[in-house]
Structures are given as C-alpha cells and as structure tokens.
C-alpha cells in the first residue's frame, strides 16, 4: 500500500505531498499523521501541498480533519504552498477550510508554526527569556 512519508524535524512533523492523491492514500495520511503526532509529541505539523494540482472536497475534508485532530492533541497545523488554481477551485466548490492555517511557502509556514508555538513557550519561560526579535 502506498504511503506518504512523514518527516520529523525537532518538534515539527513535515509532510510533502508529491503524488496525486486518491481517497485511500489521503485517509492513510490522516491516520499516519495523527499516530505520529501522538508518538513523537510533535507541537506542529506542516503540510506542503505545492505539488498537488487538484484538491477536491474529500481531500479538503481530510486536510481539515488533520488540522482539527492535531489541534485537540495540542499540535498546530499549517498548510503551505496551495496553487492559485487550486485555491480558486476550492472557493468555487464551497470549501473555505476555515480553521486551517495557511502560508505561502515552507519557510513562511515554519515561521508561522514557530510563532504559534513560540508564543506559548514564551509564556512558559517568561522569566529567563531575553526577547530577541529576528
């Protein structure tokens, strides 16, 4: 059975979808990712969909699911690199993916994840944090 690889980078999980999805593959990704979040205690999930030429309502739902599931396991999800044509199509389809954070590319996505998780950690280590803006 085909599977999409999930990479671990520190306390982030990184998924780059390089192949065209069909439903089973998307479902596997959902369960694999949730398992990984639980196993590694990851605080952030970054899904790069820049190579995906289409996202239909099912895949959109899976992406939304991953976001919501990770959220209740205390991990943030950011979807990056959606193609313009895909974004236009999803809106026309009626799927706004509310509740899913998005970013233009992996770099900006990482920044966003860090800021989301960082703000929380700042709070935890407020005492000895010498706030340096980057």
């Amino acid at each position: 059975m085909d599977r999409i690889p999930i990479l671990r980078m520190g306390n982030f999980l990184l998924v780059t979808i390089q192949v065209d999805l069909y439903d089973r593959l998307a479902l596997n990704l959902e369960s694999d990712l949730v398992q990984m979040v639980s196993k590694t205690g990851a605080r952030g999930v970054l899904i790069d969909i820049s190579a995906l030429s289409i996202v239909d309502s099912f895949m959109g739902r899976i992406i939304g699911n991953i976001g919501s599931m990770s959220k209740i396991m205390d991990a943030e999800t950011v979807v990056v690199g959606m193609q313009p044509a895909v974004a236009i199509t999803l809106i026309e389809l009626g799927l706004e993916l509310k509740g899913v954070s998005t970013a233009l590319n992996v770099e900006k996505g990482m920044e966003l994840l860090r800021s989301k998780i960082g703000s929380f950690e700042d709070f935890e280590e407020e005492e000895h944090d010498d706030h340096r803006p980057e």
Partner: protein, 288 residues
C-alpha cells in the same frame, strides 16, 4: 452575347481605372485623411486588374466561381484594412460600387449600337459587382469584430495591474465593473503574483468600482477567501461612503474581511501587520 466581356474590359482597363478614380475623387466621402490618392490609385488598380483578368463570358453570372478567388481575396484584404484604418462601411461600399459606375459608363460608350446587349451585359456586371459589395460588408464587419475582440482582451489585461507597493505587499486597483469573468481574471492575476513575489499581503482597491451590489460583494469575498487559502491576507480598500451605504442596505456581511476607506490606510494597516514603521527622517536625525 455578341460582346466578349473579357476582351472589352482588358482593352478599356485604363479608361475604366481613370473613370473610377475620377468617380472616387469626385465623391465627397473621399477620405484623403486616411489614404493618399496615390495609394488609393495603386489599391484600385490592383483590384481592377484582378477583376479584369478573371472575368469572362462564362463566369460573369457566377460570383462564387473559383475564378474570382483572387479578386475576392484582394477585396477582403482591402476591406479589412479599411475597417482597421477607420473607414465607415458606407465609404468602403461606395468604393466598390463606384467601380460599377465606371464599368457601366465604359460599356455604354462601347456598345452604343446594340441596346439589348448593353442591357444584358450591364445587368450581369451590375449583379457581379453587387455581390462583391456584399462580400466587402461581410469582411468589413469581420475586420471590426477582430478589432473588438482584441480590445476586449487588452482591456481585460490592462484593467488588472498588480503593483508591488512594498516588499511583501501587493496592491491591485480595480477600475470598472466587477463581473464574474473579470473576477476570475483578477483572482488569477492576484494569486499568481502572490506566489511569484512571495507577498503575504494583498490590497484590493475598489475606489474605481462604480457600484457594489451583492454579486460584486460575493466576488470580492471569494477573492479574499482564495487569498487566505494561499496563506496571504487580503485587505479591501477604497470603500466610498456610497458603497458603505449600499453594502449595509443590502445586508451584505463583510465583517470577516478587513476593509479600509483608503489605499493609504490599508497600506498603514499592512505595515503594522508586517511590523514595519514609517517615520520622518528628520526625527531620526534628532534622536541620533
């Protein structure tokens, strides 16, 4: 028919051309501003040549005959180029019909003695050139249509410029009515530019949009949502008081969208989002 039309026309070609030119030059619809008389003469001679060499007693009844392909081709070329130059269809029509007058005048002089033949030949020539005239109108309109199509494309292109106002900030002033086809072009352009420039903020300025109804609002909301899906933020600026009034009267909900009255305030908001600050240099120097 006792007269060989082909031979007769060949022989009298020069005379017909002179006559035709005189007719054209005498007509008040002559457009010396669009074409010089020399050019007109060259164009007319080419057309007459083609006609005279292809017409004969057999095909004179049949304007669809392949013999006339060259003539029609030249004629089409003339009427398309005239459409582009800005001639009116009437002027182009008169151009072709004045050739008929010239030929008929010549025929009258040549076949003085035989009224029956004169009538038949004139009738046939008249009919042939009439059908050429119709062809002219057809191609003329086709030429105009092409102009319109090209302009439509150009307007679509021109009317959606995406401007990079700052590193990471794009602005797109929309001028004119937003229909669904326009929205599609605007969205595509904007989203592609967002990807290409890596900008995270886009400002959609609608001060040039005459009216916002619920349909236009829906298009704007779609554009904003699509921008968000890509991971960028979209601000709508240029909300004039009238637009604010209609939006509220129509009960359109824009509360999920960041809206600003002017492009300047949208830009200020964008700076804040990017944690940028704009200051006067004088103040900077004092503090140093």
């Amino acid at each position: 028919m006792k007269v060989d039309i082909s031979k007769l026309l060949q022989k009298k070609k020069k005379q017909i051309l002179e006559q035709w030119m005189n007719n054209q030059l005498a007509d008040e619809s002559l457009r010396e501003d669009l074409m010089s008389n020399d050019e007109l003469r060259i164009q007319s001679e080419e057309l007459l040549n083609a006609l005279v060499t292809s017409v004969n007693n057999r095909n004179i009844d049949d304007a669809q005959s392949p013999d006339f392909d060259t003539t029609i081709e030249i004629l089409s070329g003339i009427s398309i180029s005239r459409a582009r130059q800005g001639y009116s269809p009437k002027e182009t029509g008169i151009y072709v019909f004045s050739l008929k007058d010239a030929i008929l005048q010549t025929l009258q002089e040549e076949i003085k003695t035989d009224p029956v033949t004169l009538y038949t030949v004139s009738f046939k020539v008249g009919k042939l050139i009439d059908s050429f005239g119709v062809t002219t109108f057809e191609t003329f309109i086709k030429g105009r249509e092409e102009v319109i199509l090209r302009q439509t494309d150009e307007i679509a292109e021109i009317s959606t410029p995406v401007i990079r106002v700052w590193d990471g900030i794009l602005a797109l002033p929309i001028i004119g009515t937003l229909d669904s086809a326009r929205t599609q072009v605007v969205m595509e352009n904007l989203l592609q530019q967002i990807v290409d420039s890596g900008s995270s903020i886009a400002i959609l300025d609608i001060s040039g949009v005459p009216a916002v109804d619920s349909l236009v609002a829906q298009h704007l909301i779609k554009t904003v949502s699509a921008t968000r899906l890509m991971g960028a933020e979209c601000i709508i600026s240029g909300i004039r008081p009238e637009i604010a009034q209609t939006v509220v009267h129509l009960g359109i909900d824009l509360s999920n969208i960041v809206t600003k009255a002017s492009l300047a305030s949208a830009l200020r908001y964008a700076f804040t989002m990017l944690q940028l600050e704009v200051r006067k240099t004088a103040k900077e120097k004092n503090s140093l």
